[in-house]
Symmetry: C2
Subunit: 226 residues, 2 copies
Amino acid sequence: MMKDDEAAITAGLAPARPAGLDRRRRRREETINEILGTAVQVMTEEGVAGLSLSEVARRMGIQPPSLYKYFPSKVALYDALFLRGAQETLDAFSAAAAEAEPGWNALVAGTEAVIRLGLDHQVVAELLNWRPVPGFEPSPQAFAPSVEFVHKIAQQLEIAAARGELDPAAASEEGLALLSVLIAGVFSQQLANEPHATFQQGRYTRLTSRVLELFRSAYPLKEGEQ
Amino acid sequence: MMKDDEAAITAGLAPARPAGLDRRRRRREETINEILGTAVQVMTEEGVAGLSLSEVARRMGIQPPSLYKYFPSKVALYDALFLRGAQETLDAFSAAAAEAEPGWNALVAGTEAVIRLGLDHQVVAELLNWRPVPGFEPSPQAFAPSVEFVHKIAQQLEIAAARGELDPAAASEEGLALLSVLIAGVFSQQLANEPHATFQQGRYTRLTSRVLELFRSAYPLKEGEQ
DNA sequence: GTCTATAGCCTGATAGAC
DNA sequence: GTCTATCAGGCTATAGAC
């Protein structure tokens, strides 16, 4: 059984000054990335919970014990996948939001970018948003980007309220919960019922902007607000 | 369990043949129900995909091969769980809707009942709404109640439109998709983030009526409609 | 319909040689 | 860091006695 070790992040950063060590570290990171990529492939075929270290090793042409030089346990591998996925999600939101006008427009752009990313990396999205692996919970470090992500959404809600694009009540716990319900609804319906559709054509994802407008209409500006 | 006591009691009273066959069939159904119930327990602890026939047998105090007298394979067991869950969901919706005024009120009552049922039977709800078991797809028979369920919702949308509670545009493919997005959003967020909360207290489920009102406002009556 | 026994796989993880 | 060898267990499913 899984010993339920510390789900430590194992992308160990050695102090490494000399040049030879640098190259070795780079090779190590490449191998780690190959393991993560192969793991995603396996999960895509066998389900998130169906990940098998033996199968990963088999596909990489190495022996299972070698994997333990990079990840001390299966849980640690899940943790690394979670961390990478959460960071990518945060980056996608930030990048899309940064290119739009701050406030409501940034929120819409960021949301769409995150849904698109999730469609492209479905198993990772499952790992991030649901709880498909009993016994696995992300470590605080792996979860940190997700926290930051929520924080950024709240920020944009506040900006939108300050700009008079939404009623200030939208920038609240309730507003955040409502927004997350709408986005999760679009995403989970699409994934469960039509996982291979594109964002544009998906029966549910194509409702994204309609749903976001619905959110906006839930917090209409009151008389006298800008 | 108590099955043995019951068998002992009825053994002396049972008339010759016809009733004997009857009793045997009833016992068989009881065993099947016990298997299904135990399977739900195991899935609750180990995840939907973590269901193990050996573990079911262990908890029932029988040997694994005995299970094969009732279900020819593990997939067949999943299928039976799916069928039972889908039927219960349909029944819950129908019962709640029947007690309310047909149309919008019935839709609201039915929706709430289904979400409550899902909260009480979370693993079954996962099996019904997501795809947690790679390689398992419900058979047409097991899926039939789900089809009927969607049909009933569409019916109530039409009734609501006919009664002038919604714009007729709500009774469309798009309206159905939008409604399913909203309900799935509430449910999946609650399950993923606060699975142990009650319907009343859940950070997301308590938004249910707010979200349904939002749906209604997405299809406002036009001038001149009743 | 229950059981024992077992086939024929799979898994995660460790020890230790090279 | 790679390997072989192996532990110690898990699993689904089948065969056949009772």
